[in-house]
């Protein structure tokens, strides 16, 4: 239905998939089904949250990756690092080793993604929100934006249309280089992403301006390995020569922004931060029922501990968080010189500070036509009653409810229910020993 308008960064490698059902059962949007022993993802429902990848013991779910060599097609090769990248490295690796290694690998300049927070603060004095309804919902996490589009269409008008900091950072850099008379075709801005959701959102045809903002993406785990290798190789030399620090340093607030409550703590009024997509879903159900009042701002993140828990983060999320907290304690407020530099780009940035309206893309209807949908619903309810309700997953659907829905839509058959079939065969007594009369409904 809507699959063309959204890009997905997660794919199943059929050669590795064993059809174990783990991904299917962990998927928060019921996007996965098994057929012919392999997992298949419904593109209308996938939000690229990466829960399936975390759940897969065989490494069969992978994140797409741009060719790293692509950076060398550009004269100016800028890496935009999420601050959680720094949080991946243990204390015995000084920060300037990391930046020097990134230069050795081929980047000409390095910025932190969260610098956009300091830019926004400088040009606006405070964080503005642009949404039609309260509570305003952060659009920082693209998996959450997508989730709201497909599953909570009534909440789309709560989404904050302020561009996330990383886009502001990228726009700032590009504009600054253009001001310096660097030809646009020489500028390569590469975003190092901690997750599949951000890759998907950057490449989505739904967000055409992302192609102008970012030249490409680099998966964080891949770059982490390159940097570790480079540091290991040059350790002695680095001890003498490493001195490069990213321009400009972050403020403590910016450094903590991508972690849980990092954003909400900077927004005035009553705010709430919720992380991990299943928790978010539970909360959105309530919000949709109008049960939540008096909250001004909601920070919702797909990953536990925010981006420190991104699927492409190689390290432990809690350690990363602790390191960033420690790091932020040594950071200072923005200097007047930096502010002057930022203000030079202010008029351009202010003009582009809002993003396009976000449209709902419901993915849970039985049929677009209500008459047909009602017929399917009668069938759905009837089948659901007949199914055992134990959500075993052996039919290839994540739950009895999902199978009933698939059957009603004509995408599956009742005979897929293994339990119903077992009931009618000779081993009935053996099954009774395990399940009692649970399966006799």
């Amino acid at each position: 239905m809507n699959s063309k308008s959204f890009h997905h960064a997660l794919t199943v490698r059929e050669d590795l998939c064993r059809g174990c059902t783990r991904c299917m059962r962990n998927c928060p949007t019921e996007a996965i089904r098994l057929s012919h022993g392999k997992a298949h993802v419904n593109p209308d429902r996938c939000v690229d949250c990466g829960q399936c990848m975390d759940a897969c013991p065989y490494g069969a779910i992978v994140v797409e990756q741009d060719d790293f060599e692509k950076i060398f097609s550009y004269n100016q090769r800028i890496a935009i690092l999420p601050s959680v990248f720094i949080g991946q490295f243990a204390d015995d690796i000084p920060e300037n080793y990391i930046y020097t290694a990134l230069r050795d690998i081929g980047f000409t300049d390095i910025y932190e993604a969260e610098f956009g927070v300091d830019i926004l603060k400088t040009i606006g004095n405070r964080f503005s929100t642009y949404a039609d309804d309260k509570p305003v919902i952060s659009t920082y996490c693209p998996a959450i934006v997508r989730l709201i589009q497909i599953k909570y269409p009534s909440l789309v008008k709560h989404l904050n249309l302020l561009r996330p900091p990383v886009e502001i950072t990228a726009m700032y850099i590009r504009n600054k280089l253009i001001d310096r008379q660097i030809p646009p075709e020489d500028i390569g801005i590469f975003y190092v992403t901690p997750c599949a959701a951000k890759i998907a959102s950057i490449k989505s045809p739904e967000n055409p301006d992302h192609h102008e903002i970012f030249t490409g993406v680099i998966n964080m785990d891949y770059l982490y390995n390159l940097v570790q290798k480079s540091i290991a190789k040059n350790k002695k030399l680095l001890a003498k020569t490493a001195r490069f620090t990213p321009i400009p340093p972050l403020t403590p607030e910016a450094c903590m922004w991508s972690l849980t409550a990092g954003e909400s703590s900077t927004v005035p009024g009553r705010t709430l931060a919720i992380d991990e997509i299943h928790n978010v879903i539970e909360f959105l159900e309530r919000l949709e029922n109008d049960e939540i009042t008096n909250i001004d701002f909601l920070e919702l993140r797909s990953c536990a501990e925010g981006c420190a828990g991104g699927v492409l983060a190689p390290g432990n999320r809690f350690l990363a968080k602790e390191r960033l907290t420690h790091r932020s304690q040594h950071m200072r407020e923005i200097t007047p010189e930096q502010q002057t530099m930022i203000r030079r780009q202010a008029s351009y940035l202010v003009k582009h500070i809002k993003k396009e309206r976000i449209e709902a893309k419901s993915a849970y209807q039985l049929d677009d036509d209500i008459g047909a949908a009602l017929k399917k619903m009668d069938r759905y309810l009837e089948i659901k009653k007949a199914l055992p309700g134990i959500d075993c997953g052996l039919c290839g659907a994540p739950s009895c409810h999902a199978l009933a829905e698939d059957i009603a839509k004509g995408h599956a058959t009742v005979s897929q229910c293994v339990v119903l079939r077992l009931r009618s065969i000779t081993q009935r007594d053996d099954i009774h020993k395990v399940w009692g009369d649970t399966l006799d409904r």
Partner: protein
């Protein structure tokens, strides 16, 4: 399409379950979000009233391509003055119920505002609330 639910008296933690279930069904039918919200709000208030003010009851919903009909009935003690009960701010909620955040006297008025027709009948044997929400959004 018919669905029914029972509502036990006094169980506030589960009030809203029928509303959530109906919400999911209406999404499966691709009903406009604004209309779904009206249904959920009206149904939720009616559910809470049964939990808070009655001896328990049940909900029955009928969905057609044009509208949803919801009948919420309970087994007493009934509303003695329906007109008074319908007025904003009128409530007989116990202090216990108020402490739980209910009892502003806004439930019935909210049901009225969120439904396209509302019919209440009541006796000591029980109250029955019939509400209908049309799927076509009205053009005001």
């Amino acid at each position: 399409m018919n669905q029914s639910f029972s509502i036990p008296a006094g169980d506030f933690s589960h009030a809203g379950q029928a509303a959530s279930e109906i919400k999911r069904l209406l999404k499966q039918l691709n009903i406009p979000p604004k209309v779904i919200k009206r249904v959920v709000v009206a149904l939720y208030e009616a559910e809470v009233n049964v939990v808070a003010h009655s001896f328990g009851g049940s909900i029955s919903c009928t969905i057609t391509p044009e509208h949803i009909d919801i009948v919420v009935s309970d087994c007493g003690p009934g509303i003695s003055d329906i007109e008074l009960a319908m007025s904003e701010g009128y409530s007989t909620a116990s202090s216990e119920v108020r402490e739980m955040g209910f009892g502003a006297g806004m439930g019935l008025p909210n049901i009225k505002n969120n439904s396209d027709s509302l019919d209440i009948s009541s006796s000591e044997q029980g109250t029955s609330i019939h509400m209908r929400v049309n799927f076509k959004e009205h053009t005001p």
